[in-house]
Symmetry: none
Subunit: 243 residues, 2 copies
DNA sequence: AAGTCACGAATGTATAGACAACTATAGACA
DNA sequence: TGTCTATAGTTGTCTATACATTCGTGACTT
């Protein structure tokens, strides 16, 4: 029981969150050996298969390294994220060993979306849209402004999430069966609102990632991630097989 | 028993192979509904958890799409590349039907690189570096500033290229056997020099793509592509399933 | 005709238990 | 001293089972 968050996520997601937290807060430093699966089973009160799945998925994503017969170890932080799996800034910050804080600025259901939103969702008639605006801070410094518009018929209970947990963002990405994702990356000067929220000056350069997802023919989410240009870079590293 | 390969792989890997084979040989065409987990359990003689793991991993990789309560479906092959192969602005401009013009600003061999360049190339002793600076215009309007530093021992005759032809850029990207590529995308304000060359104001937002390539252990090229933020966006589109 | 509800079917998660495979280490033996 | 071996500890795989969640359908009701 101790250590696992209280939200409605699946258990293996909570375990992943628990591990990332321990990495982030320095409890388990780089190359540290994690408690064995058996230990985690005892201390967390879940079955071994659940722990195993959590550790395997974190290994697949590069956070851990496992050696059969020996143990599980914390991997050195990756230089950057890959482009496919961007947008989970929370895991990134935690894995880097920084302190993460999410500040929820807006959390609402828009009953009557304006013209632009309707177009973005390809609605023909006015229907509600869920809306969140969150500032993500790394060690107290704002890094990313995350604005999401969500189709509530496709993503139920979106507004009820715990937006301070890393697992939430992981979960959101896999909970809806996406059929299409579009990314658009641009550089734009900060608006007055963005500048205020990110603690930068107006017109300062921001890296903006627009992400639009579909489930079948209908638009599921329309997201805008605004990074502070002077504090963040998106990276991808490609290694050919031979090395 | 029937259908699973005979090698020493784990069962769930064999199930994955089995599914991929059926997709590959056209047995299960695009958007076809797969047999249910229960059916596969019967026909393959493995437990449901094993089938489930196989299907889940194939889903994560984009080969399948699953809908709870409905079934599992074959996804169309991935239509699109990721961001790896951007940066050939010339083809892009031409494909858009616009007029392209390349303006060579600098073309030189630097015999004695400064400290920063040496670090970028991980040189331990001073060695020459080829250098080009080119402005790309779409219909007469500057869009991209392309600055390349090239290791002349790996890329021969770099300075002799025809930098106004689209094919040149295609060629440069594939002429050297790269073993590693690193992309870093950031948003930074235009410097005085960049502003002048791109016909924008100083401090205007630019999208900067840094690209560094290795051939074996040695650095081959260090490139910086600076896009005018208000005139350009990088895009990637990922298609997965039924549409 | 339209809405509601119950049910079946399919996937999602979780558990307990078993065995296999691998590694490091300590102890036995030459 | 050096080598081999047994063993404990850890991760990897697999099964059987149970319950949860979601979706579509068809029967029933209104």
């Amino acid at each position: 029981m101790p250590g696992l968050s209280n939200t409605a996520l699946p258990l293996y997601e909570k375990v992943k969150d628990f591990v990332l937290d321990n990495i982030g807060n320095g409890n388990w430093p780089q190359n540290e050996k994690l408690p064995s699966e058996h230990d985690l089973v005892s201390s967390l009160g879940v079955s071994r298969m659940t722990v195993h799945r959590a550790l395997r998925e974190l290994t697949d994503k590069g956070y851990l390294r496992r050696v059969q017969g020996v143990g599980t170890f914390v991997s050195p932080p990756r230089a950057q994220s890959t482009l496919i799996e961007i947008s989970n800034i929370v895991s990134e910050i935690k894995a880097r060993g920084s302190r993460h804080r999410a500040e929820v600025v807006i959390l609402e259901r828009i009953e009557r979306p304006d013209e632009m939103l309707l177009r973005a969702f390809e609605y023909t008639e006015p229907r509600p849209v869920d809306h969140s605006l969150i500032v993500h801070c790394e060690n107290g410094v704002p890094v990313q402004l995350e604005e999401r518009y969500v189709n509530p018929t496709l993503v139920k209970h979106y507004l009820d999430q715990d937006f301070t947990s890393a697992a939430t963002y992981d979960y959101l990405q896999h909970s809806t069966p996406l059929t299409e994702v579009e990314h658009l990356i641009s550089a734009i000067p900060a608006t007055e609102r963005d500048a205020k929220l990110l603690h930068i000056r107006e017109r300062d350069s921001c890296l903006v990632l627009n992400r639009k997802t579909w489930t079948g023919p209908t638009v599921a989410t329309v997201n805008t991630f605004t990074y502070v240009g002077s504090r963040y870079a998106l990276g991808s590293r490609y290694l050919s097989p031979a090395r």
